[in-house]
Amino acid sequence: MSRLFVYLIPVFVIAVFMVMAHFERRVAHDPTHRGFFDRNGTVLGIAFIALVAFWTLFLVVLPYLYMVQESFHPKLVAAERGGPKDILTLEQYRSFFIQPTDGEVNTTHLWAFFFSLAASAAVTVLNFAICYPLAYYMAQAGSVQKVRLLMLALIVPYWVNEILRAFSLRLLLASKGLINQVLMGLGLTDAPVDFLGNNVGLYVGLSYAYLLVMMFPLYNAVESLDKNQIEAARDLGAPWWRIHKDVVIPYAKPGIASGCTMVFMLSAGSLAAPQFLGGPKTLWFTSIVYDFFFQAFNWPRGAAYAFLLLAGCIALVMLMLRVFKVSLGETIR
């Protein structure tokens, strides 16, 4: 049954693309506009469609579909696959809420799930707080040379690979690290502060990792704002914070939404930074997913958990877009 479904997908995808190619000419308002096949010829046209369709199919659609169907199966050894035990089941999803072993509520995983989402939201807010003033300065206030220098200073650190960045942060924040030594040397604290155990390292590392992802949408959004709008608000008596609240932020809202969405999604799905920089008691949800795939070899449960994470993220993002009255279309402008 599910196999037939898999075979039908290519046919379906190609059909969709053919229809899109057919209607493409109607979208263009120019009456002399020629259709897709008129422009490219039948052979090339079909070749283009087939190539794009297979790209979409093999790199986008099929892998996810495979994971979806995997998540609805029990964990089986290879010999039992396709046998009588291979049934469609919700047990992998259920196991997220209720432990399959003892029937207790699965507090560990539920906590990891909500902690990951909440921490990612915190990282998003932190990143916005750092990037907004920078983006505003670069887009509206700074001189060309200073902006270039700043841009370089923002980009160059990204040449350093993630592992190196994570571990050097660890060294800085460790209990005998530079920051603690300075703090104790200044007499600000007697005992070293446990930055890593308190997840300070995690927040710093994640914020740093996705700084540019926030920076560029914000910069683009603020940059296209007419300077006269800012001056008009000032001329009408607005203090600086009102100018931002009433003029700049509403204008840049799609860019802010886009940057926040990306930072949030990437943080919630990140693996390296939480593992290297998280405290010993911190369990990031992606680590659980990773362990199911590579430690427990329980692909169905790993897949189910990954989709739960995806669903949770999407739900939260949609909710936030709703709260801040941004349409999804605006964020990808």
Partner: protein
């Protein structure tokens, strides 16, 4: 309430470049005052120093006698209307108009009332809930005026606000602006490169060139009694005849031009041997022979009919045509293209000024 504005030796430099050089003048309260000049002459810079977006490098700006240096744009009793209007696109018309009041903490009901009053003033009643993008160019223009007037400024600054409108609307808005100014009675400072706008609306005009105020006066003075060659050539059409002064006294001067000796008044007192330019307006010239020192003879290049008037172009010196305007109802024989014609003028309407830079065509 209106306030007078005083510029006291205001100089503005951007690096090496001097945008405004020692501008000094006093604008009376309730006056409609225009700065007129070609683009890049420094008029917008002056406007920005009055509004508070720029501090002068030297000199002082005083509004109602109070020194404005160090007082930000949001604290000055001025309101600025931008060239591109800079209405807030995400706010409704009423929100735009009352933004300045909201910033000042006025409550919603009072704002609504004020918005309605202002919408009446600009003849857009009941349009407060529209978005700015739903308005036409002229309507946007009026919303921008209302937004600036809402904060009850003592001085309204206008930075070429009509330049984006089409010709008919522009002429209509000229009258409307003048009417609004007379109704609200506050000082208007108007920036324009369009001499027609400046002449029709202003009480007084400052003509600027290269960062320097060349002349200040009412429209008639600037048009009839220009004091420099630049003003004579920039304000209205003018025919320049350059040469050396052959004879000069208090009442008049004779200039040795490529068309012979020509006479005009001598208000600036040019002296014999000075380089000078004689200016004669196109409407001061007429076809025919006159006194020898007020007659120019040349080839007719072209005749253009423009409805209420005809323009005759004669071959001039330095590839510059001599223009002559003949009213529709004047009974003159218009010379044919290619023929040689003489034109003459009343020497009292010719003006001899010291040589100086002319406005670019």
């Amino acid at each position: 309430m209106s306030a007078d504005v005083e510029l006291d030796r205001v100089t503005v430099r951007f690096g090496q470049f001097t945008a405004v050089k020692e501008a000094s003048l006093k604008i009376a309260g309730g006056e409609f005052f225009s700065f007129l000049g070609p683009s890049g002459c420094g008029k917008t810079t002056i406007l920005r120093t009055v509004s508070g977006f720029l501090d002068p490098s030297e000199g002082a700006v005083r509004i109602a006698g109070k020194d404005m240096i160090g007082i930000g744009a949001n604290k000055r009793p001025t309101a600025l209307i931008f060239q591109n209007l800079a209405l807030f696109p995400l706010m409704t018309v009423a929100e735009n108009i009352t933004y300045g009041l909201r910033v000042r903490g006025m409550n919603k009901a009072d704002r609504r009332k004020r918005a309605d009053e202002l919408l009446h003033l600009i003849a857009l009643p009941g349009q407060g809930d529209k978005l700015v993008s739903e308005l036409s160019g002229g309507q946007k223009q009026r919303v921008a005026i209302a937004r600036a007037l809402a904060v009850e400024p003592q001085v309204l600054l206008l930075d070429e606000p009509l330049s984006a409108l089409d010709l008919k609307l522009r002429q209509h808005m000229r009258n409307e602006l003048r009417a609004i100014q007379q109704r609200v009675g506050i000082t208007f400072i108007y920036i324009t490169h369009d001499q027609g706008e400046a002449l029709t609306m202003s009480d007084r005009i400052a003509v600027m060139n290269n960062g320097v105020i060349e002349q200040v006066g009412d429209g008639k003075a600037v048009y009839d009694e220009p004091r420099t060659s630049f003003v004579a050539s920039f304000v209205g059409e003018n025919n320049p005849f350059a040469g050396r002064v052959a004879k000069a006294d208090r009442t008049g001067a004779v200039v040795e031009t490529p068309f012979g000796l020509l006479r005009g008044r001598n208000p600036n007192g040019v002296k014999e041997g000075d380089k000078a330019i004689l200016f004669v307006r196109p409407e001061a010239l007429r076809v025919g022979e006159g006194p020898k020192d007020a007659t120019v003879t040349s080839t007719v290049l072209n005749v253009a009919f423009e409805g209420n008037a005809s323009h005759i172009f004669l071959k001039g010196a330095d590839k510059k045509d001599i223009t002559l305007t003949v009213g529709r109802l004047e009974r003159v024989e218009i010379p044919e293209q290619g023929s040689t014609a003489s034109v003459t003028y009343n020497p009292d309407l010719g003006l001899v000024l010291p040589e100086g830079k002319l406005a670019r065509e």
